[in-house]
């Protein structure tokens, strides 16, 4: 007794499964295996690396952050210890953005050697620590933004 509802429903269910698996294999495992490039890998591409949509990941080089809070303009350097890429981004960064923080930026690497970021993401470490005496987490972000303001 295969009613129409049963047949189409089962087909739909199988369809969902096929799409899910296809996605896992081609979408998930292919393009996202290399979710982001490290600076040395982007630089190694040479001219190939310019003007293509790409994700770049690494640490914010300590002391490199320049933040203009009027123009909401942010410049910093992403480093992997070997290579370094200058990044230019618009808008306020996520709350946890700071010197030495892991970040992933989406955008294009320009021929002028500056990575134009359209999206700035903070990559959090897997550690959680209660603040030590005298640290006030809520204040840290504000003081960072003040200290780096120009």
């Amino acid at each position: 007794m295969t009613s129409k509802r049963t047949k189409w429903g089962a087909l739909a269910a199988v369809g969902i499964l096929v799409v899910a698996f296809g996605w896992l294999i081609y979408g998930g495992l292919d393009s996202n295996v290399v979710y982001f490039l490290q600076p040395k890998e982007l630089l190694a591409k040479g001219a190939e690396g310019y003007d293509k949509p790409v994700r770049l990941g690494g640490q914010v080089k300590p002391g490199s952050v320049v933040w203009d809070d009027k123009a909401l303009d942010l410049r910093f350097t992403v480093t992997d210890g070997t290579g370094e890429v200058a990044v230019h981004s618009k808008g306020a960064p996520p709350q946890m953005f700071k010197d030495g923080q892991g970040v992933v930026v989406e955008g294009r690497y320009g021929r002028d050697g500056v990575f134009k970021s359209t999206s700035l993401m903070v990559k959090h470490s897997n550690e959680y620590k209660a603040p030590t005496e005298g640290e006030r987490p809520a204040e840290m972000y504000k003081s960072l933004m003040k200290s780096t303001g120009t």
Binding site: A13, A20, V122, N126, P137
Partner: protein, 237 residues
């Protein structure tokens, strides 16, 4: 068709009432305890408190889909319908927690990472896991013959559960935006205590939910069987 053993169609023993009360009382306690006792994180501030819902939800998702795997294999091996009903119950509870994990992860990602979503391997594989089990539940509701339904869904359930270790290892195998698993040494003790208590509470919730859904499924089958027996002339099998 050979007659199934009578025990498959007997009404189940009810889920203990005390377990339900204990589960929810313990859950309320652990949630309040964790939020009240944890200081703001040095980096993340109060956003660290999302850990007590997102991480336990993810854990019990894996556990529930593990139950689906074991029950599905047992069903294919022994052809006992009760194992199929248990797998279905666990799949439903697991899907709910998987969806919850995704939503909570988005709510955590926005203020910490800066984005609601990104197509990294962890997030993508978790979404795939969720979709497979949504497909599993859809498949069940569309196949009417219990035996065929059991076999098809066991196959899908096993395939789906294979994704659990992929999701778990994704942060180690590939570069992801999602951080790797925290280990106890990376957590301040005041966070670890709240996290472990909530994992225990969510586990109890999962056990209780699955048990109740299983009880309902067994009762439904018992009722179907009883009315069939009545229609066949009151033979009490």
């Amino acid at each position: 068709m050979s007659p199934a053993p009578a025990s498959s169609f007997a009404p189940p023993k009810p889920t203990p009432v005390w377990l339900g009360w204990l589960t929810f009382a313990f859950f309320i306690f652990t949630q309040i305890y964790a939020v009240v006792t944890s200081p703001a994180d040095a980096m993340m501030g109060h956003l660290q408190k999302m850990m007590y819902v997102h991480v336990p939800a993810a854990w019990v998702t894996f556990a529930a889909f593990g139950v689906v795997l074991v029950a599905s294999l047992f069903f294919l091996w022994k052809d006992d319908e009760r194992a199929d009903l248990l797998a279905a119950s666990a799949a439903e509870v697991g899907s709910m927690f998987c969806g919850l994990t995704l939503v909570l992860g988005m709510l955590w990602g926005r203020p910490t990472w800066g984005v609601w979503w990104s197509w990294d391997a962890r997030l993508t594989s978790t979404l795939v896991l969720f979709l497979i089990f949504v497909g599993y539940l859809a498949l069940r509701s569309f196949v009417e013959d219990p035996h065929r339904r059991g076999q098809w869904s066991a196959a899908v359930g096993i395939l789906g559960a294979i994704n659990v270790p992929i999701v778990w290892m994704s942060v180690k195998w590939w570069r992801t935006l999602h951080q790797i698993q925290s280990n106890p040494r990376g957590l301040s003790p005041e966070y670890l205590r709240g996290l472990l208590l909530n994992v225990a509470a969510f586990t109890l919730l999962t056990v209780w939910f699955i048990w109740k859904r299983y009880e309902a499924a067994r009762l439904e089958r018992a009722a179907e069987h009883a009315s069939q027996a009545a229609a066949l002339g009151g033979y009490n099998g």
